[in-house]
């Protein structure tokens, strides 16, 4: 019951349904009472009219009257029959018996309608003085009359009994239908990715909800602006860092070219490596900022093998340094529809990662195949692999696996994730060697026609 109360205060839909149902119930009840009473009265008036008509008929046609003797006739019902008699005969009748006619009516009754108790039963009696000066009484048992009146009154309630449940169903359905656009909208917003901050379509919504949606749209806009601002800041900051970094690396290069004692040269080497690492980090930051920006990039049909080739041309020196055997395993090329730079950046970061985490003399394989219309790109290495509990975290910026000495930027997989989210690609991590759980195998699935 408490749960219902809570739902009642929280759900407009439920409140509306309940309030409407109660209102309908109340109106129906009042209308029923009124209908019942008026139908009941109406029936009585009709019956009184009948008595009056019988009296007038008797009078107009100057009928003579004989009382029945012995057995009653077929179709005569004691409960509902109309009795006519001279009022004066009442005193000869057997008192306390309403079976035989004439009835023992009191002779003192005045002209007009009255209800009289005869033999323990109530009778409706009309007394009339005819043109010939005789006083006649037309009577009927009230029990039968009331029964008929009640029946007709109950019948008048029948429409309400049908209407009430039908109205409840209609109201419930109507309210549900009216609230459906809101439910649909909620589902639509629920399915959005985090970058999808475009405004909600308010066109097909009820006017009552529209101000709310407009306010949410304004909030979305502000959030988008602030996110944009942050991204721009990262991009600008990385950009601004380029100049001092250039100056630094040029000076270090110049220093390396000059005559210096061996000890100084030994100390210069880590310095140059540090500068190189800073340069790399700035480059990756800019790439990440670009990957996260929502700007539309032109799409084209791109050959995956061509992208693999560009990536290998870029990264082969790195692989050669570590004597890593790197190559493409798939024979058949696959075409995908994507922005070429996006795919290049994605594959390059995956391969760069693979080379970094594969030990000296290892192997990195690139493959691509089309499985049920989906292009499946795979980068496999013979490194340590990534355990299941680490898999979710490796996409976080600056996350580095424990125990790695690699001087990567920690942004490679974040860039991959940003591009995958924007292009609708799915990234899956597994092991190259499923049995021994070693070697990272990253699969990128790209939907898109041939």
């Amino acid at each position: 019951m408490d749960g219902f109360k809570k739902r009642l205060t929280e759900s407009v839909q439920l409140r509306l349904s309940v309030a409407l149902a109660l209102a309908i119930l109340l109106v129906a009840a009042l209308a029923s009472v009124f209908a019942f009473v008026s139908a009941f009265d109406e029936a009585h008036e009709l019956q009184d009219d009948t008595l009056r008509q019988v009296a007038v008929l008797f009078d107009r046609q100057q009928m003579t009257m004989r009382y029945p003797e012995g057995q009653g006739i077929e179709g005569d019902d004691e409960e509902s029959r109309v009795i006519i008699q001279y009022l004066a005969d009442g005193k000869h009748a057997l008192a306390g018996d309403d079976e035989v006619i004439p009835l023992p009516l009191p002779t003192t009754l005045a002209d007009g309608l009255s209800t009289v108790e005869v033999g323990g039963e109530a009778f409706r009696v009309l007394v009339r003085t005819t043109a010939r000066g005789e006083r006649i009484a037309v009577a009927q048992e009230t029990g039968g009359r009331d029964k008929d009146a009640r029946e007709s009154a109950w019948r008048s309630l029948l429409p309400f009994l049908i209407l009430f449940p039908v109205l409840l169903l209609v109201v419930g359905d109507l309210v549900r239908k009216l609230f459906r656009p809101i439910a649909t909208l909620a589902a639509e917003i629920d399915q959005r990715a985090e970058q999808e901050l475009h405004p909600i379509d308010e066109q097909h919504l009820p006017t009552e909800v529209r101000p709310f949606v407009v306010a949410i749209n304004r909030l979305l806009e502000r959030v988008a602006q602030s996110m944009d601002g942050q991204r721009r800041f990262v991009a600008d900051a990385a950009h601004e860092l380029r100049s001092p970094m250039t100056a630094l690396s040029l000076q270090a290069e110049r220093l390396a070219a000059s005559e210096m004692p061996t000890q100084a040269r030994e100390r210069l080497l880590p310095l140059i490596r540090g500068i190189e690492r800073g340069r790399k980090l700035i480059d990756q930051l800019l790439t990440l900022a670009a990957a996260q920006s929502t700007a539309n990039r032109p799409l084209a049909t791109v050959s995956v093998h061509a992208v693999y080739r560009q990536v290998l041309e870029d990264l082969l020196p790195l692989a050669e340094c570590k004597h890593i055997d790197i190559g493409v395993e798939s024979v058949q090329d696959v075409q995908v529809i994507i922005n070429e730079l996006d795919l290049f950046t994605l594959v390059k970061n995956l391969v760069d990662n693979a080379i970094r985490y594969t030990p000296e003399g290892g192997r990195v394989d690139l493959t691509v195949e089309r499985v049920q219309g989906v292009a499946r790109l795979q980068v496999k290495d013979t490194g340590p692999g990534i355990t299941a509990d680490e898999q979710a975290r490796v996409f976080d910026p600056f996350y580095r696996s424990l125990g790695t000495e690699e001087a990567g930027s920690g942004l490679g997989l974040s860039i991959v994730k940003a591009i995958a989210e924007r292009t609708g690609a799915r990234v899956h991590m597994g092991f190259t060697d499923e049995i021994n759980h070693t070697g990272l195998c990253i699969t990128v699935s790209l939907a898109g026609e041939r």
């Binding site: 250039t246 050669e320 190559g327 395993e329």
Partner: protein, 221 residues
Amino acid sequence: MRILLVEDDPMIGDAIQRALTDASYAADWVKNGLTGLAALDTHAYDLVLLDLGLPGKDGLDVLASIRARNNPVPLLIITARDSLDDRLRGLDGGADDYLLKPFDMAELLARMRAVLRRKGGAALPLLGNGVVSLDLLSKQASTDEHSGVALSSREFALLQALLIRPGAILSRSELEDRLYGWGNEVESNAIEFLIHALRRKLGSHVIKNVRGMGWMVSKNV
């Protein structure tokens, strides 16, 4: 050779100027575009190094002014702007090359030499990548260990194709396209055979095989 350096960042400008001097160039350093244009009016330079983010007059405007005056001086853009649009505008605007900050001085000097060579029209009849060099006239190849190795015309053509852009991977079909004319029947392992021969003559490290992709010569050593 006299070089004009237009760069507003004092640290970078200083470093480049000194490195150019070390490399035996005569380098004049100005810090904004207008001074740069004035310097170009008064002196004859063999090459201009132009930064894009300049105070006062933007680098691209300076470039436009230089080319508007029909000055064909070789020009190399050095900039932190990495957008494709900027790059295209620079190259379309008449720059001979485009170098992105941060860069190594060695690379800047190499690009300068390449631009000067192209502009001077005095391209040496020699291709090379530091491991192997190929004399286009005598069709002889040289490495540290072997010098003046004579090559067959097919071997020469294959090595030339690879040395045109060191570091680029060429697939079997691309190499076949470059070596054999239309209608020539190409044997299935002809390319492997030629590469085997070249490796035997020059050393196996000269041509690298990239599994599943093709062959290449290293970019630089």
